[in-house]
């Protein structure tokens, strides 16, 4: 199995660390992983994105122009990446701040009110975990126990007390994710 993911949003939304936790979780289940960020000053204020690949085999190119899953957290990223989702793939996004919603019919589309849920949880910082939870609900590519290990690995010791909070956020994400265009269903219907 190989899963090719792009996560894109504003700098400061925790895009890169979400990717890192996913990658670590992959390692925890003995997969090959790669994590390729956008980098440099243009990230200042601007958008940040990271390409994460989890695979059972040696990973060839860490840089891709089409993805199995796109996790989109602002309009610029929506404009850039909607078209790059492989037919049959998944596009997950946070509607807050999105003016033009995705139109594609050949992919599964899901939404998660990440920002809202995070502020309900009184912690903007775990916004990205809510989103990751939503993703893992739709695409359970890593087991929760590996996510737990992934969190342990990727968070510095001094932040380990925050792991439960993060896991709660993931759960919330899993509950609150909405599939607004389900390919399988569509398939079923026809």
């Amino acid at each position: 199995m190989t899963e090719e993911i792009i996560i894109a949003g504003f700098g400061g939304q925790g895009v890169l660390s979400m990717g890192k936790i996913l990658a670590y979780s992959g390692i925890m289940q003995d997969q090959e992983v790669s994590w390729m960020p956008s980098y440099g000053p243009e990230m200042r204020g601007g958008t940040a994105n990271v390409t994460v690949i989890l695979s059972d085999n040696r990973i060839s190119s860490p840089v891709l122009n089409e993805f199995d899953t796109a996790i989109i957290l602002n309009q610029q990223s929506m404009d850039k990446f909607e078209a790059m989702v492989k037919p049959g793939g998944l596009l997950l996004y946070d509607p807050n701040g999105i003016s033009h919603h995705p139109k594609r019919k050949d992919i599964t589309i899901a939404t998660i009110e990440g920002a809202k849920e995070a502020s309900n949880l009184k912690n903007k910082k775990i916004f990205n975990m809510v989103v990751m939870g939503a993703f893992l609900k739709v695409h359970p590519i890593v087991k929760m126990k590996n996510v737990h290990k992934g969190l342990e690995k990727s968070l510095p010791e001094r932040h380990h007390h925050l792991i439960p909070l993060n896991e709660e956020a993931i759960k919330v994400g899993m509950e609150k994710v909405k599939i607004i265009h389900d390919l399988k269903k569509v398939a079923a219907v026809n």
Partner: protein, 78 residues
């Protein structure tokens, strides 16, 4: 007596919500908006505009030159 009055116009798309003008304003005219602009920043706006004296302090400290300041000296009114 007539008191000098001022007003500010803030380019909310250029504003990066750094809060410097808000803190600098001696008469607490400004505040950051809850709503983010297209760049994801919370722009400043005059919440207490009548208190503005047009002292320019906000504009002097604004790194992004978002603020235009107006001043008006009304004629004494009987």
């Amino acid at each position: 007596m007539s008191k000098v009055r001022g007003a500010v116009v803030i380019d909310s798309e250029a504003c990066k919500g750094c809060d410097l003008c808000v803190v600098a304003c001696p008469t607490d005219v400004l505040q950051l908006n809850e709503q983010v602009n297209s760049k994801g920043y919370n722009p400043a706006y005059p919440i207490n505009h009548d208190a503005c004296t047009g002292c320019k302090i906000c504009a002097l400290v604004c790194p992004d030159m978002c603020i235009t300041v107006y001043q008006y000296k009304p004629e004494r009114v009987a």
